[in-house]
Symmetry: C2
Subunit: 206 residues, 2 copies
DNA sequence: CATGACAAAGCAAGCGCTTGGTTTGCAAAT
DNA sequence: ATTTGCAAACCAAGCGCTTGCTTTGTCATG
């Protein structure tokens, strides 16, 4: 847990310290929400997972929806920071796009704390007001993608870029339902396959 | 509701007659499950929607999960029949693929009884045993896609075809979260865009 | 007069959340 | 070095409500 990106964000007060009680609760929530969904996870499940009484949870959060809100907000902020870091490592738009795809795949299929799948699949379970508030962070997230795609395919109009983004997002978001992280297809190769969806003119792999 | 495909299937006893009490219940369930999800839909919601008492539901179904099971099963069977019909209308694999994409888009975004989005998004809410039983129908559904894709890209190995299928499935399954059926982008054009993802060598639209 | 389709009422269990009080860790005051 | 103060973290108990489902009875139809 010595992830420098996480530690820096904790230092800046942007996310909860994973070592704190609140942080542990959030990580347990991510795991349960991903395994069995938000609605089917009870506050008692959550409490049992970290070894406290169900009522004690409400010392840290005012309500159950607030837990989901916190999970999603921190997840988006972390993932956005990861995406920006991935883009910054490359100069060419093509490389940036591949890094972007790879980074998002990792965030959604990765081994530790893959909260992005919770964000993606439990978004509808958020109260209307929460969704509205979280849109601010989602737009920042989207902007990273749109910038890179625009530079990658400057010949396309904005609305076509938008459609491509959404289609890629669907393809990537869907991978947790079928992709096996331990199997023969590794994340780099999968990222390359998806990259070729967005860049039809490029040379085929192999 | 004079859909000949539906009527034929009702005649063969493959699906429930939409005019029957059970049929009305299933259609109401689809609507509610799609709007607010299976878990958040109560049997009382469902009963109120068709104007009966909540207890009366259990004359038609033994349990709430059994309702979801029936919704998903009938949906898969209908959608499979629609896909097969769409493929049969064309001779060339390229046209067949486009018809396939178009048909699935319509089933998941279409105006009337778009149960496919329920099937897609509520699959995890099915009991383990239901999932196992329904896999039989899902395999038949998948086979339609795999056959066409194999004929379309005969140069690719089976596992690459599989990945393409899953990526397309993700892109299509995700459309309900962003696509606006009444907007400027119509389903034919969207289908064409997705088609070009699967057929990178083909000429670009326009 | 048997059957199917429902209404009416309600049960047991589980839900999110509240309450009042206890433990723990730590730092300032003595 | 010991005491005191205090806030964060937590426990134990349970309230009020909703949930899926059951039971019993009614009534129209064939």
């Amino acid at each position: 847990m010595a992830d420098p990106l996480i530690m820096a964000m904790v230092g800046r007060g942007e996310i909860t310290d994973p070592a704190s009680a609140r942080g542990k609760l959030l990580r347990a929530a991510v795991e349960l929400f991903r395994e069995q969904g938000y609605e089917r996870t009870t506050v008692r499940d959550l409490a049992a997972k970290i070894g406290i009484q169900s009522g004690s949870i409400f010392h840290h959060f005012r309500s159950k929806p607030e837990i989901l809100h916190a999970v999603v907000e921190e997840c988006i902020r972390i993932t956005t920071a990861r995406l920006q870091a991935a883009v910054a490592e490359h100069a060419q738009p093509g490389d940036q796009l591949r890094a972007l795809i790879r980074s998002e795949l990792e965030s959604i299929n990765g081994g530790d704390g893959d909260a992005l799948s919770v964000t993606v699949f439990e978004w509808r379970s958020l109260p209307e007001q929460s969704q509205q508030e979280l849109l601010v962070w989602r737009r920042e997230y989207d902007a990273v993608w749109m910038d890179v795609l625009r530079r990658m395919r400057p010949e396309l109009p904005a609305d076509e870029i938008f459609v491509i983004r959404r289609l890629l997002m669907g393809a990537i978001s869907w991978t947790p339902t079928w992709y096996n992280p331990g199997g023969r297809l590794d994340l780099d190769e999968l990222a390359l396959r998806i990259w070729h969806l967005a860049v039809p003119g490029a040379a085929q792999p192999q």
